[in-house]
């Protein structure tokens, strides 16, 4: 098992996907909107097709824009159905993303079947390929993987957004009525959060593929939710869990020579269940020892 500088790049990129995803994921878990990641994963297809159709290329940049817009449009549709039509929120997620995906498949089948357009081969990247795709200056000096810089930019954006909007995000997640009662609009924050989720998902899809993004959004955040008593601690814990899982998942991927994304996702699942059963065990044993002690 030999490692090199590439492994560092891959690990760094995994962490740079993990950090913004899990920060946003904490808010999604607290707002009961976790499935939105899955919805966006499917809803990007028509956006990718339109980018291809109007730009006549499979170049990365228009695809990213198209995919983000279509992801955002899907979240808007979800919100509209939920708020205006008053359908329960999971049903509106289900209706919206299946509709978007179906439109995408029809467009691809009718106009692009020979052009090999699908999110798997145009948008979804594989994290192992990251070190190959480097950014270099004119004189050939390599600046490291292109996606590293993109992910770094996205991470900074998300961190800045969450620092700036921390008070708004947590207070609207906790008690929407109260925030409305002091005269602050909640809609703006909801939509900007969705916008960030859509953007981050798409940027991350491009680097690590769809599965890892869904798991990154909810996995570490759910694990942290089990143990954290405060939101800021929950965010820190979730970042820690995410990086921790990236590390072991990556090692496992090298060891078993399998998909890195798949391996990290599996590790996150295992991590969740370890924490989950540990807490259950701890709770049971403390209940036994407390026995007849009163509690309020």
């Amino acid at each position: 098992m030999s490692m090199g500088i590439d492994d560092i790049w891959i690990f760094a990129c995994a962490c740079l996907v993990a950090i913004p995803c899990t920060i946003l994921g904490c808010f999604l878990v607290l707002r009961n909107m976790s499935m939105i990641g899955d919805a966006i994963g499917h809803a990007v297809l028509p956006g990718i097709f339109c980018a291809y159709y109007f730009y006549h290329s499979k170049a990365t940049f228009p695809v990213l824009i198209g995919a983000s817009l279509s992801g955002l449009a899907a979240t808007f549709l979800i919100q509209w159905i939920h708020k205006k039509v008053k359908l329960q929120s999971d049903a509106s997620i289900g209706i919206s993303y299946t509709l978007f995906f179906a439109i995408g498949v029809i467009l691809v089948s009718a106009f692009g079947a020979q052009a090999d357009i699908d999110q798997d081969c145009i948008l979804h990247g594989e994290i192992a390929q990251i070190p190959l795709d480097t950014l270099s200056l004119n004189d050939g000096f390599s600046l490291g993987p292109r996606q590293f810089w993109m992910l770094l930019g996205n991470t900074l954006l998300v961190v800045a957004f969450c620092l700036l909007g921390y008070r708004a995000l947590w207070s609207t997640s906790f008690d929407e009525h109260f925030i409305k009662s002091i005269g602050i609009g909640v809609l703006f924050w909801q939509f900007s959060l969705m916008g960030m989720v859509s953007l981050t998902s798409v940027v991350s899809f491009e680097s690590v593929g769809a599965i890892l993004v869904i798991v990154f959004l909810v996995g570490p955040a759910s694990t942290a939710y089990l143990i954290a008593k405060q939101l800021n601690k929950m965010i820190w814990w979730s970042i820690l869990f995410a990086i921790h899982a990236c590390f072991w998942g990556y090692l496992a991927a090298i060891l078993f020579d399998g998909s890195i994304a798949g391996s990290i996702a599996t590790t996150m699942g295992i991590q969740f269940f370890v924490v989950f059963f540990f807490l259950k065990w701890a709770q049971n044993s403390s209940n036994k020892s407390l026995d007849l002690q009163d509690y309020e």
Binding site: A102, G258, G262
Partner: protein, 409 residues
């Protein structure tokens, strides 16, 4: 047009097979969907659909065979495990359902992908296409599939007939079901198994997305028309069947029109129609009932005013408020009244009441007075508010309420 008659003649067995398969699958999915919807587990289908991947791959790895049954068993096991885990997590921690769903979906799918890359290194050229099983196509449904779906449909309907009352109570109030001694665990197990079997089967035949849509969309649409479970089941099945039929039809009208996605589009279209047009809950219904009500109010106001004018029981100033103005809307309403023979046109653009109109006008005036008395007595309203309130309510009062009001005064 020709194409459509050709389609409905079903002379081509392939058309018949695919159409029948789509319709039956639509019914199967929608009926199962009703219960997942009522139990607020709408996205469980999506989760099971993604979670079958590791089962499929393991099934293949262990038995090295791509047969339908082997893959189905693998899918059933991993689908079942995922659905069990979702329940287990939500029951034994403070984590909410949606987070548990997303977590299980992602982790299972991730594990499946991990196994798939292991397969890439596995020798034996036949492993290819294993993930193609995740993307079944509705247009490729063959006779065997139709038979399998048909058997499932029959089994499902039988289960429904036997357990319907139990399912019904369980979906609305689990606690109550438990309290009256129903075997809730058992019922839930049966329901969940039905969902898993349907999804694991459907995913191999028509793919993840169509399967999720079949579970969610027809039910959501049906929910807008009724709140009775029986009618909901019927409606959802009807929508599902219609979706299957029209999806098949559309995909027959032109080349490269995929059947499955068109079924999704038709179902979504039905859902949006329901959102807009369904009585009571629909968006448009509310809008239209407002318009009709406005016309009714205007009609009644004209009749009442004319009635008051004839009897001169009211001061002129008070009448001025609702003196019919000459807006387009008003003229339109007047025309309706003339048509209904409630008013007659005189010279100078004036109107006079017919006998019918006079009776109705007096009735409205009577109701106005009645309401004023009623709220004066019971609602502690100040005198100056009573009149405006009555101006509105007089149009809502019907025979039954009028009787009530009279008896309470």
């Amino acid at each position: 047009m020709e194409k459509i008659t050709e389609f409905f003649s079903f002379s081509d067995t392939t058309i018949l097979t695919v159409t029948l398969g789509s319709i039956l699958l639509g019914i199967l999915g929608s009926v199962v969907g009703v219960f997942t919807y009522l139990r607020k587990r709408v996205l469980i289908g999506d989760v099971i659909a993604h979670s079958v991947l590791p089962g499929l791959v393991l099934g293949f790895l262990v038995l090295n065979e791509k047969s339908f049954i082997v893959l189905l068993i693998g899918a059933l096991i991993s689908g079942g495990l995922s659905s069990f885990l979702v329940d287990y997590i939500t029951h034994h921690s403070k984590l909410k359902t949606d987070a548990a769903l997303a977590l299980v979906l992602g982790v299972f799918f991730g594990f499946g992908t991990f196994l798939l890359t292991k397969l890439q290194g596995h020798s034996g050229a036949s492993q290819a296409g294993i993930d193609a099983y995740l993307f079944g196509q509705a247009a490729a449904i063959d006779l065997f599939d139709v038979q399998v779906i048909g058997v499932c449909c029959v089994l499902l309907l039988l289960t429904l007939l036997i357990f319907f009352r139990g399912f019904n109570i369980l979906s609305f109030d689990e606690q109550f079901a438990y309290s009256i001694g129903m075997p809730t665990q058992w019922l839930k197990f049966v329901l969940t198994s039905m969902t898993i079997i349907t999804v694991a089967l459907g995913v191999q035949l028509v793919g993840v997305v169509l399967m999720s849509a079949l579970l969610i969309t027809p039910t959501s649409a049906a929910r807008f028309w009724t709140s009775k479970v029986k009618i909901m089941l019927l409606l959802a099945a009807l929508f599902g069947a219609f979706g299957g039929l029209s999806g098949a039809l559309i995909s027959y009208l032109n080349y490269r029109m995929p059947t499955g996605p068109w079924i999704v589009i038709v179902l979504s279209f039905l859902a949006f129609l329901s959102f807009v047009f369904a009585p009571k809950k629909g968006v448009l219904f509310r809008l239209f009932s407002n318009v009709f009500f406005k016309i009714k109010i205007q009609k009644e106001n004209i009749l009442k005013d004319l009635f008051l004018l004839e009897n001169e029981t009211i001061e002129i100033e008070e009448l001025q408020e609702h003196q019919p103005s000459q807006s387009v809307f008003n003229r339109w309403v007047q025309r309706i009244l003339v048509y209904e023979k409630k008013i007659k046109k005189m010279e100078n653009r004036r109107f006079t009441l017919t006998a019918l109109g006079r009776a109705q006008g007096s009735k409205i005036f009577e109701r106005h007075k009645l309401w004023e008395k009623y709220i004066g007595k019971y609602m502690h309203l100040m005198r100056d508010h009573v009149h405006t309130d009555a101006e509105g309510i007089e149009h809502i009062i019907d025979e039954e309420i009028e009787r009530d009001l009279k008896s309470s005064i």
